[in-house]
Amino acid sequence: MSSNVISLSSIARGRVAPAAEPTAPTGGCSSKSCGSDQGQGDMPAHIWDKVKDHPCYSEEAHHYFARMHVAVAPACNIQCNYCNRKYDCANESRPGVTSEKLTPEQAARKVAAVAAKVPQLSVLGIAGPGDSMFDWKKTSATFREVSKLLPDLKYCVSTNGLALPDHLDELAGHNIDHVTITINMVDPEIGALIYPWIYFKGKRYTGIEGARILHERQMEGLEGLTSRGILTKINSVMIPGINDQHLIEVNREIKARGAFLHNVMPLISDAAHGTAFGMSGQRGPKPAELKDLQDKLAGGANLMRHCRQCRADAVGMLGEDLSQDFTLDKLPEVAAAYDPEPRRLYREVVERERADRARAVEGAEAELADTVAEAPAKLVAVCTKGGGRINQHFGHAKEFQIFEVDAKGVRFSGHRKADNYCVGGYGDDDKLDIVLAALEGIDTVFVAKIGRCPKDDLKAAGIEAVDAYPFEYIETAVAGWYAQRFGQVSETADIA
């Protein structure tokens, strides 16, 4: 449990610059960082209010705030080739996976228990494991139960969109102001390669016919959300050879219909998962391929790069999962009395830390601009436990945060998992191979600390481990290192 709680002294992070897109609601990774901007910028106040504490909608918020999913909606109305509904593994972290399904009443007790222990909790989401809109009775009953106990939570749902147009007004009525639709195509011929069938109004439809119905309902649902002022995030699964290039068109279409954020996620495919794609040997994209596509999309709808593809029952900060600490048998019989005070205090501290970090990063980037004239952009990896600092031992890193740095500044680029979506079960040698694969194309990794052996191993693989900036802000450390390496005035460039 304690590993989830960011110590207050360590919070502060993440450069998030003014967005470049003045016409749409601003945000997304197309600017300096994912999701919404660090500051309100030119974002309308009502939208900033909605995203600033939502870890999935704001890259900055995801270092301070936690989300939880409750798995109350197991029924689904479509079949996707990347999903196997029979699969469950407690060590597995990916969408659609859950260990226990909850009734709405059980879910409310679970939310209350988590809120009492995790003051960072800001968002309750329902993401299946089936479809929250198809299983609408359970979804809406859950929001009703929870809002009796915790009036200050934000709610969000994710859906494949097929049943979405049927519930638009009810969504608005429940005060749900974030909806995620998974849209993998706007061309039914491509859809037919991803969705073997859909179930709509009492009938199963297959092939292009099914994909066309799904597409039309997704667009109708997205437009309906936009017209009701509900923020929409579009998730797209990048499937090499099937929809990778097509996602550029998807991005254009969803932006035209008012989507706030576009989150392109890599296909997770493994024969052991028993999915159609897993069995057919369909591969997922490499990190570099994902980044290439994300860079191509940077001019369209705002991009999200910090998604961790979490489980349908995930609990905690993004990238961390406490769901095993809050299983049904560990919950109290009666919902814990709710005390809003710790959460209010936490939010106050975060506000102060955000301002402090913003000042530090601004200073660092000003120095960077002064000292480095022309130098190639570089990708670096960082080991961090959150809070925006280099505060993790290399040996504990299950994922790396990737930053791109050049004379204009330090930008968040994405995460790379180094645990192959599974926790444990690897020997040290295997682990190094996984780390090296995750760091493909990167030759510098910032760590709080690293042992001599792994440091030498990395060096042998052509990767330099930098441990000169323990517990510093990521941006100031990376900027300082870059200025020293590429700048003309290396003495004064060491601003970190």
Binding site: P74, A75, N77, R85, K86, K101, G130, Y199, G202, K203
Partner: protein
């Protein structure tokens, strides 16, 4: 003239329960069962429970 659910194949998602036009499906012991006396196999239409079930071969002739 009725269908049945193979318990080993059932994911307990419950989609069949609320799609059944005859309310012949209910949860029992962690999985779902079809009450044979209530099942009409949707009177000649494609049975809705089979159409919505995510597991092929889960719902079969009794």
């Amino acid at each position: 003239m009725a269908l049945k659910i193979i318990a080993d194949e059932c994911t307990s998602c419950g989609a069949c329960e609320f799609e059944c036009p005859n309310a012949a499906i209910s949860a029992k012991g962690g999985v779902y069962i079809i009450k044979a006396s209530g099942c009409t196999e949707c009177d000649g239409d494609a049975p809705k429970c089979q159409a919505v079930c995510p597991t092929d071969g889960c719902i079969v002739q009794a």
